[in-house]
């Protein structure tokens, strides 16, 4: 690792709130998308001449199509309840990373052009003209929000900064300033079907390799079927599961579960991506287009069910938005949840005693669980509110004898984002990612010291990649982070006794 040009925050065990340090992260901004990456998504390639007009038109448009925007922009009373809730503020002290201040970047322009008070008395109400400096601030600070919704938990009006960030990014992309990382990835999904640009032959090859690996490892013919028409279940996983560590161990875990359940399943080469970065850039059409591939694949393969692998924002899109985006799912079996999370799937099989877990297999570990932001605050599992917290823990307790939770103000609905969500999982934002991870690292360090925790399980591809990268900055091993289904897979009792 090359020496970074920033300092990793000190671990303090308890979460202190930093003093306001204006401009602390003013230098942080991701690479801007090239023309080709913009145009592939239907956005202009570079800053348009009449950008101000286009931006205000877009804002006007969004104000008419998303109720959240006028309500959120009008309602904030600046009470300050959110100011110490964002992991990026806690990690950086930059006041523009306080949720309300992040919203104010857009709110001040909204007031200037769309409200009576701001038109006539701009100074009084903090209204601002839309200038290139404002646009620059939008680009910087709307890419220092991971759309994790933690602020929305504490806001007396439920103002969700993620909605504001999405609107900000959509306006930026519409005038020609998109983010390279997200837009390039969305383009790959449109063209090839997954974030990595992995074509079918490469994917088939990878899956063959996994079959061999598992066979060598445990002597069981666990299959990783691809494009198998007539299978019962289409499994949609984040493409990182195909080869990134520790993701791939999760994929092996799902495969073992399917193998042991006897339920036929398949992956799809056309829809080989659960992730949907359309949500990150706030653009409905792109989000829908990405999701559409899954509907198409499910229909063509003739499956009865869709199960989604471990990926946080993907689960939010699948659970909360798919039915709107690509529904109705009248061609699937209504006896099962549509879509179903792989944790729900495994949990159901466990409760029906179709699977058996031998927790001793993980006795060498003391495990904690990182609730992923999008799963926690933007979705559900099971049939009761909060099932998204209960089911993964049930699985972990079944798969491990040693499970401990981190402190309650950092778990469940209060969970901290890993620091890499929302389209920020890119090395041009490394400083932000490391600093933004500090609240989670503090809570983790505490259970390491108090409980001897050795591993942290996650159910999100972004969390897993992010932690692998940032754990070493905090003096922890990158292999501390594991897939939940790796632990399940390791504890699963297969027919041959493994």
């Amino acid at each position: 690792m090359t020496k970074p040009d920033f300092e990793t925050p000190e671990l303090t065990l308890t979460q202190d709130v930093p003093a306001v340090q204006p401009g602390a992260m003013e230098h942080s901004k991701p690479f801007v998308a090239k023309a080709a990456h913009q145009e592939a998504l239907g956005f202009p390639g570079e800053l348009v001449d009449n950008w101000k007009e286009v931006a205000l038109d877009k804002m006007s448009d969004l104000l008419k199509t998303y109720r959240s925007l006028p309500v959120f922009l009008d309602s904030c009373v600046k009470c300050g309840a959110c100011t110490d809730k964002c992991h990026y503020y806690l990690g950086t002290g930059d006041p523009k990373n306080m949720p309300v201040a992040r919203q104010d970047l857009l709110r001040s322009v909204y007031r200037r052009y769309f409200t009576v008070a701001g038109k006539f008395l701009p100074k009084l109400v903090g209204a601002k003209d839309l200038t290139e400096e404002v646009l620059e601030d939008w680009y910087k600070y709307y890419h220092q929000c991971s759309e994790c919704r933690r602020c929305s938990v504490y806001c007396p009006y439920g103002i969700d900064t993620a909605e504001i960030t999405m609107a900000g990014r959509e306006i930026l992309a519409s005038v020609g300033i998109g983010q390279k990382y997200s837009n390039e990835i969305i383009g790959k999904v449109h063209k090839i079907g997954n974030n990595l640009g992995l074509p079918k032959p490469a994917l088939a090859d990878t899956l063959d390799g996994l079959e061999e690996e598992v066979k060598e490892d445990i002597g069981v013919d666990v299959k990783f079927p691809l494009d198998q028409s007539g299978a019962d279940v289409l499994v949609i996983v984040p493409s990182a599961d195909f080869f990134a560590e520790p993701h791939v161990d999760g994929l092996i875990g799902y495969a073992k579960v399917f193998h042991q359940s006897g339920i036929s399943w398949t992956l799809s080469s056309y829809a080989s991506e659960a992730a949907n970065f359309g949500i990150f850039v706030g653009n409905y059409e792109n989000m829908q287009k990405v999701a559409e591939r899954i509907r198409t694949a499910a229909m063509e393969l003739g499956v009865k069910r869709i199960v989604v692998g471990e990926c946080g924002h993907a689960w939010r899109v699948a659970y909360s938005f798919w039915n709107t985006l690509i529904g109705p799912f009248d061609f699937l079996d209504p006896k099962f949840p549509i879509p179903q999370h792989v944790c729900e799937f495994t949990n159901d099989l466990l409760s029906q005693h179709i699977l058996r877990l031998d927790a001793e297999a993980n006795d060498d570990k003391i495990v904690t669980f990182h609730d992923s932001c999008n799963v926690s605050r933007g979705s559900r599992m099971g049939n009761q509110p909060g099932g998204q917290f209960i089911i993964p823990r049930q699985l972990l307790r079944a798969a491990c004898n040693n499970f401990v939770d981190m402190s309650p103000e950092t778990t469940h609905e209060h969970t901290f984002c890993c620091g890499g969500g929302g389209g920020l999982l890119t090395d041009d934002l490394l400083e932000l990612r490391v600093k933004g991870a500090s609240p989670r690292m503090n809570a983790l360090q505490r259970v390491i010291e108090d409980e001897g925790v050795t591993h942290m399980a996650a159910i999100c591809a972004i969390c897993k990649s992010q932690f692998s990268k940032v754990l070493p900055f905090y003096g922890m091993g990158m292999d501390m982070i594991v897939s939940l289904h790796q632990l399940v897979g390791d504890a699963l009792v297969l027919d041959n006794g493994h």
């Binding site: 309500v71 009008d74 300050g80 309840a81 100011t83 009084l124 504490y154 938005f321």
Partner: protein, 241 residues
Amino acid sequence: MGIIFSVLFYAASVLFVVALGRRIFKYATTPAPLVIPTTPAPMTWLGVIGRMLREVVFFESLFKGNKWTWLFGWLFHFGMLIVLVEHLRYVSEPVWFWVASIQWLGPYGGMAMFVGLAGLWVRRLVVDRVRYISVLSDHLMLGLMVAIVGSGLVMVYVFPTDIVMVKSFMLGLIKFDWQPLPSDPPVVVHLVLTLVLMIIFPFSKLLHAPGVFFSPTRNMRDNPRERRHTTGWRSDAHPEK
């Protein structure tokens, strides 16, 4: 004096009702295209009503967020509720029994408002994060409320005004039979500033009052798998398949 105030009262009331009504109409008619409740969220309308009640009665989310802001905010708002009910005696004749029965609470409500406002203002000035996000209008709004509450308390404890005359003025407004108003400074200040408050209400952050009811993260059900939610856009980007 009575006539000028009567005209101002009508003007402010019309503006308040029309402008606020337009804003509420805008909130009510703008679609919420995607299911975005902050989860865990209730799955039924009954559950949503419960969540909303906890939010507007107990300030549940704010309680999770910041105990001091919650305490001062709650004192202020519930002091205000008491004072508003207490003030209904100026527009009811004979005074409704439930209004009469809480009259003794009125001054305490006023004091709770005062303490709440003072606490919120101190936070705004002292906590660096809250100071950073405050603009002039945030301070002026607190000043306005403090002046309204203060002038009210002054009338209760220091310079009592002719409240029989105030009541006949208020009843006169309702019956379009305009009556004179006492010209003591506290009552004039109290009423002028209340009119100012009514006028700025629909154009300011006071819109949080109707806004909270339309907040999609609080008023949507968590049932996207069970029931298909549609965008509500006139030109739906995705045709039914």
